[in-house]
Assembly symmetry: C2
């Protein structure tokens, strides 16, 4: 068991990526393969004192830029750190990939190198904080144009993930729409509603935007366009509220105290499930395990992403997804 880490991607460069991967090897004993420019990585490994740890380096001569077109990178960069990492999984030399690099390229490369579960549209799932336990929002960006059966697949994959990883025995699946009634929504969502309602999933019907953070639904299904907007809107709103608190509370001693307390409470809330804690967003529906990390990920996020990837491999998530999808979601509600 080893996790291949794209050690060149991300906004912050190899140093934090290597630091995080080495920390995962040290703290959790997880073998990692650092993929990227050999000399750069060897120096980083020395700097982080990884002697004696299960850390090895695999050379890759190219790097995909954060804004590079996924299609271009696939065509022109056969030796990129992302590509080589997935090739290691294909060759059986690693079991999962963690990348904080170009997420579009990571997704496209995963599909080319590992392939998708037959008939399935891979999707990116993400954990979102709620007033109760974390929920899963799926898809948050892999599929901007979907058809109803894809939304159904996202429901199945989200439910399997919720059950296997979040340990919810009978995850409640909701369809993101603009009203609770089955007549509400756009054409795509109304058709997906019928598919979900006819399945054996624990489908609770449509959920509205205001329900997402309430925690009464475990899996929120939407297309990747809507999901990505929701994710970024939430990040932006949370940031704006914090900035607004700072401005509005003013500069009195009590005001500053109130702001500091609010900020700290706020950060604890976000920390419950932020990228740094879980590490990344799993790519579900590929023949293998891939974790997409935020470009700004620091060492802690990478460390936790390696652990999360390891966990996905251990519970055989990809195999369970394939089995559930193959059965059209049947059997999902039986005891694990």
């Amino acid at each position: 068991m080893a996790v291949a880490v794209d050690a060149m991607g991300g906004d912050r460069g190899p140093s934090v990526l290597v630091e995080g991967a080495v920390a995962a090897a040290r703290e959790f004993g997880i073998p990692v393969v650092l993929v990227g420019a050999e000399d750069v990585l060897a120096a980083e490994v020395r700097r982080h004192g990884a002697g004696g740890l299960p850390v090895r380096i695999h050379n890759a001569t190219q790097v995909v830029g954060m804004d590079e077109s996924p299609a271009d990178s696939l065509r022109r960069k056969k030796d990129s750190s992302i590509r080589v990492a997935f090739d290691l999984v294909r060759a059986g030399e690693a079991d999962a990939v963690v990348s904080a690099g170009n997420s579009g390229a990571t997704l496209a490369t995963a599909m080319v190198a590992l392939g998708r579960i037959s008939g399935v549209r891979p999707a990116i799932a993400t954990l979102i904080p709620t007033l109760k336990t974390p929920s899963v929002l799926i898809d948050v960006g892999a599929n901007v144009d979907c058809k109803p059966p894809h939304l159904f697949q996202f429901g199945v994959m989200g439910a399997v993930f919720s059950r296997e990883i979040l340990k919810k025995p009978d995850p409640r699946v909701g369809l993101l729409s603009i009203g609770e009634e089955d007549t509400k929504g756009n054409q795509q969502v109304k058709k997906a509603y019928d598919l979900l309602a006819a399945s054996s999933l624990n489908f609770v019907g449509n959920v509205e935007g205001r329900d997402v953070f309430g925690g009464d639904v475990d899996v929120v299904v939407c297309d990747g366009f809507v999901g990505n907007i929701c994710l970024k809107l939430s990040e932006g709103l949370a940031e704006s509220i914090l900035q607004m608190l700072r401005t509005e509370i003013g500069s009195s001693v009590l005001g500053r105290l109130g702001y500091l307390m609010a900020r700290s409470a706020f950060r604890r809330f976000r920390r419950r499930v932020d990228y740094a804690e879980y590490g990344g967003a799993p790519l579900l529906g590929i023949n293998g395990v891939g974790l997409i990390c935020h470009g700004r990920s620091g060492a802690k996020a990478i460390k936790n992403a390696v652990r999360a990837a390891h966990n996905l491999v251990e519970v055989r998530l990809a195999q369970k997804l394939a089995a559930s999808l193959d059965a059209g979601g049947e059997g999902l509600r039986a005891a694990p």
Copy 2:
């Protein structure tokens, strides 16, 4: 000039609606026509001491339920308070409608009774709070399935509203998508991008979810499905953050103080543009003026909605929308 108020709709009943309408007549001198059950409204008018004010009652024998299908209500309730209010506008006995009732029915009735601007898909605009001045989000629910030209129309209408009502001389129009580059988005959005970019609008390109509350764009264009989800997601997240602050901050005296200060700052922020302050969401693209209020609207929201509706009539917004749409957005950037 008179504003017809649907005095039967909404979650809170005629009393607060009449109170708000009477307050508008008293404070702003705006003539109002209360539409609904004559005897009920007459009693409310007496209770609120409207003697001598420009308030009259117009009887309507039916009420559309908050969850009733708009199509059913149109077919079966020709004498509903919503329908009669719009018929008064059509007959020239009133100039605008304010309703906190069933918003789908209000929209459908407006289109039937007043008609739409030729070739245009009416849309619901809403003001959203940002770190700077309020922005316009359009559409937030009138059109769940859109085509690219409709998104373009929303951009034109949002820009006219922003210029005429928010007094922004050259409103920046952004298209809600999942990345800034013109290659990002679903098929619908990519085509709408081209239409907006080719127009004479002050189009700033795609904006992401995280940009919505930043205030660097004055008009955010999206389809009604996405917009409605964004609106409700924001409401839900803001509520959740407040609840979370309460939970996380704990019960110490200082903690409670911090919470109370944060809550009050938070409320001031929301108040900048909440429904109660502006009163309602204007329905743009119909041949007339309609304001859709939140079902939970209280007297203050209704009072302000009457003022906002009056303002929309005074600036001849519907006529200016028609002229701008007719010119394909041309001339919008000229000095008002």
